[in-house]
Amino acid sequence: MRGPAELAALLLAGLLPSLACVGLGAWLLRPLRLRAAGSEALAQAFVLGAGVASLAILGLRSLGVPIPLGACAAAALAGWPALRRAARDAPRAAAPAPRRTRAVDAAALVLAALTFLAALGPETYWDGFEYHLPIAGAWSRGPIRALPGWLDAELRAGVDLLYVPALGAGQPDAAAAVTACFAASLAALLRAEVSRRVSPGAGSLAACFALAVPLTVQSAASTYVDLGVGAHGFLALLLADRWTRSGDPRHLTASALCAGFAANDKLHAAAILPAALAIAALGGRPPGARALLRGAGIAAAVALPWLVKEGVTTGNPFFPLFGGWLGFGPFDARHVQLRALRLGTDYPLPRDAAGLATYLVSLTFGRNVYSGGLIGPLPLAFGVLAIRRTTRAAAVLGATLAALFLAQAWSMPALRFATPLVPFLALPAAVGGARLARSGRSGLLAAALALAATGSLHLARLGIDYLPRIAALRDPRAYERAVFPDQDALRQLVARGRGVVAIPMGAAAWMDRPVYLLHWERNGELFFDRVRGQYTPPDEALALLRRRGVGSLVIDVAPGARAPGELGQPTVDAWLRAGAARVRDDAPRLPARGGREWVLVDLVESN
């Protein structure tokens, strides 16, 4: 149970890294001359500062320099003069916002605060506790280096690095606060954009919905990095669009900077750079050669540190791209290829016109856990009311976003991979909703009812997800046990293992000792179970696990009697028959998922 002092320490560990990002980003607002005020300026400072902070952590941790919370506090304080100057130089609003708009803004602030508090709850989101937190944890305990058996560590981890200060301070539950701040920043950026295009009231409503929409709620309280990728990618594309509308070259510079940050966050977001270039070049105002070269240089300079890191840890600066020429380093090419195929299975329909149409309908009406219903009904309900013959700039923006979205739907249909694109749906939704609201009393009533019904449902979902996490701040272990009892049982058995303990998959971040994930998608080097005809022979698997320091395994098996020396897992059974492993009868068999049970197995020392 946490007392007041521990809760205060948790809160500080959550706040200080994000405040440091704001502080670092504030120094960029002036040279980039992004004319923004209030929450938009703060959001821009945070998003830009997060990219800078991530690169700083990459450099410092590569040299083994610790990143204490005190350094975060100093960076936050150092940004204060720049923030004040930005506030002084910011354009002033012509008139104060109406009371109703301020009330909606207050509601958005409450939602952002709830998101932040929920993010301080224990990590119970699968990818978060399975690899995002463990990888950042490894790089907080030691220098940034190759992590054998952790394929995800090589697929860019720009946002993950922002978790290092909280983890270094011994506060893993505070790490996800950064994600909550990305969610709030996206909401603030949308609020400003919709305010400009529709009205301040519509902007404030957009901010509320951006925080409450299921796609955000699904990620914002976790160490999933998709909202960070989304914030960098969205800002890059938005600023490229602003160039086509205004012709102001500073928007191109900032767009290139954000595109570079997005590429550092996650590999697939490298597609943002050519997309931003297409928007800027084809939107009717092609930039000159000098502006293009400057933008390309900025993006390349921002991406360079990760290219160097990949070159050092895998031998391939573009890992896993061009693996046929440059190699896959310590990883198995079959794993990398199969993983690309596996990502496409998150939506179980064939890749043809009918499948794609169903996928698009599913974004509003579906129940698929990775994409179904995650954008809510408003983009479809209101967005079509904004369709009209439009300008070349808007057409190019729409076509570029559609092309990116099609590529994502085809190869990685989980909607969280489209977070740089999804916020753009709010623009036609706001325009169409405003049009309906201006269409007489019945139109206003219909718009209000749709907003109220959707908002109520979103808030109910948000409450169901967030409130138990906030209530668990004092006793996180009890919450973990209640959410994933099987992973808690796994933790108990891992504690009784020897050396590094191999586990099938799961809550690596919860374990009290180092673990090795046997799941092929995570380790990138071992097919412990047969996958599409690929299987690592037992002898090779044993040798590899011994090289990784594995002394024990905890595996899930079907309960019930079977022949002595058999567990029903082919590799382990082969080891048992050969005397290379033994079942630990002194350890209890604890319940795993699906009616199975956890069994502790020791590897026998080889002579």
Binding site: V361, F365, L385, A393, A394, A453
Partner: protein, 45 residues
């Protein structure tokens, strides 16, 4: 040419049959969404 996505004021309000159609569309989409999320209605995977 005015850009409706750049400034919502460039879009004229809806009247008559178009307004009725728009209200019906918004009502159907919202109701179906609620049906899927609250009552487990199955339309697509």
């Amino acid at each position: 040419m005015p850009d409706p996505l750049a400034d919502a004021a460039n879009l004229p309000p809806l009247h008559g049959a178009r307004r009725a159609l728009a209200i019906g569309w918004v009502a159907v989409v919202t109701a179906l969404y609620l049906g899927v999320r609250v009552f487990g209605l199955f339309l697509v995977p």
